[in-house]
Symmetry: C2
Subunit: 350 residues, 2 copies
């Protein structure tokens, strides 16, 4: 696995080839997560991971005038706090990678309007935390920044009225439906320092297995998770048991079982070291979230709260974080399209 | 300008620091644009740059069943052709960076569903061609891919009904309004080869100068273009006259004049070597486009058609391409918000 490191020459300057196998890259140096913060809403704060969040706010408006502005505020708090916890000032952050679920990603754009920091906007739906960390780590590793940050968010009320129905309509939810988390997560990456390190990433491909039920996101996204995780294991010559924790983003009850089934068809068992952020964020029995959590903020707050705190505390040392996104829109569904999905994975080592 | 090259050490492995000044990076080796393609609609084909497009299609549906599906098809043709013109097969492309204006970027996701290529989704509104080329070049330069591509698109009919009114309503347009181009552009970047090279980029910051007229995008975006171009000139110690062509994306009549005015307040003259894609794509006198063109596809097709063809033909050798994006949504405007904007710049040298 180490012998992929070779120098290739382009334009007379030596650059490491950092590719491992077909789809995975290994950073040339450890990229440290020197600060991270998770901010969540009331329901998320009442869940089993409530204590791991830096801020829990009971007001769904976060003292703003609309839910959309509340989502920007949620994200602002997460980014601002992650920078503070890293011991840096905002002016030290050379760029931010971020996005969210809202049309035109306004949660992020209106948040970033308040920061005087160069910005790359992303759209990866609920895979955004992994996509932003992968690109941010690549940008730092490539020598384009020394300190950079990744951020994302979601809000139950903004997502519900954009993707489904007005909240006041009180539509019934199917058992496969997932609950969009009101939460944000942010992390500051650095070319030097201490703490958990992003060491590899596998880029997702868009897969569409023909599912058209927008109340079954987990089922639609599971094949993408299977594809990316399989590519990661093949590229690195490793197996699930080589990791302390394999964590998918938001497959929830239905999708995580589909993922286990897909792997078992290959004779591969996802054991007790496999979990899913959508199953962890809420008490799915008591909190009335049906199949579990979802939304960019779900895997983001689980990672930047519970997981990174646990890695710093010695609980896990190798975590494979694979966040999944469903890339449909209400318009594509109305036009009879099925649901394309993607999964980006990063390896974090402590 | 060359003395920024120094080796920095992180984790024991030497990596070049590629930063130039506060916001600009210079790639460690030339990143070649080895293939590029522009696909456009009927109106764009009838404009002054019509001959520079690889494909012009008179059918606004591109033989699909909806305008949204047409936009994906437009983008598919551009990406597929750019790969073919680079002399590669699709399997040689290690990842694609792309996005578009549609909610949840469905133009791009549904296009990429048909390619078996790892994908990073972006949202930069009309700055997407520059954002995707900048990140793609950084990814290649960092050693994470040897061949990668950037793609974006827009479609008059999808954008108009999403951002403004149903087309059948026939709303009158103000003189400051711009016409969303039905067009797509794609480029294949490589760590080796021949052709124009992406050599530097400056990352945009989100600026909002308080404009709330969504029929004056050029005015809203001009300050972001001024900010990014000023940063580029300051970081590199150069001036506008050092470039054969400075090309903004989609400021059109109003915004490009605002940009000239902002620079002239600093005593800097943008001369005849300054132009704007929104002014070039249409005959603004005869084609009834009011202030000019706009949309991700506007600067994308001007760059991947007219400009890169011209650079290959020896017409220009140093082109500073600065694409601008307005990051509002209909919801943010309805909530009384003003318009945040961003501008990403790349330097292309032949």
């Amino acid at each position: 696995m180490e012998n992929y490191l070779q120098n290739i020459t382009g334009g007379g300057i030596k650059t490491q080839n950092k590719r491992v196998g077909a789809r995975t890259v290994k950073f040339g140096r450890p990229i440290y997560i020197i600060g991270h913060a998770a901010v969540a809403g009331k329901k998320e704060g009442q869940g089993p991971l409530g204590d791991s969040f830096d801020i829990v706010c009971d007001d769904p408006y976060f003292a703003q005038k609309s839910w959309e502005k509340a989502e920007s505020e949620l994200q602002r708090q997460a980014l601002s706090l992650a920078v503070r916890k890293s011991g840096l000032a905002e002016r030290d952050i050379q760029c931010v990678f971020g996005g969210d679920l809202l049309n035109q990603c306004i949660g992020t754009s209106f948040n970033m309007r308040g920061f005087d920091i160069p910005f790359f906007g992303l759209y990866g739906a609920c895979s955004t935390m992994a996509e932003s960390l992968a690109l941010c780590a690549a940008y730092v590793d490539g020598g384009f920044a020394e300190k950079a940050a990744a951020v994302t968010s979601s809000h139950f009320c903004t997502a519900e009225r954009q993707y489904r129905q007005p909240l006041a309509y009180g539509a019934q939810r199917t058992p496969t439906a997932q609950w969009t988390a009101t939460a944000a997560g942010a992390a500051v990456l650095s070319s030097g320092g201490q703490g958990p390190r992003v060491t590899m990433h596998t880029t997702g491909k868009i897969l569409d297995m023909g599912i058209n039920d927008t109340n079954n996101m987990g089922g639609a996204m599971a094949p993408a998770a299977y594809d990316t995780l399989s590519a990661f294991f093949a590229d690195t010559g490793t197996a699930p048991e080589d990791y302390d924790l394999i964590l998918t983003g938001d497959l929830a009850k239905v999708g995580s079982q589909v993922l286990r089934d897909l792997f078992s068809q290959d004779g591969v068992t996802l054991g007790n070291n496999y979990n899913d952020c959508g199953l962890m964020l809420y008490d799915t029995e008591k909190q009335d979230v049906h199949a579990g959590g979802s939304g960019c903020g779900c895997s983001a707050c689980v990672l930047t709260g519970h997981i990174l705190n646990g890695m710093r505390g010695g609980r896990w040392s190798k975590v494979l974080f694979a966040a999944t996104g469903a890339l449909m829109s209400p318009i594509s569904s109305q036009q009879g399209e099925t649901i394309p999905a993607i999964c980006h994975a990063i390896l974090i080592e402590a």
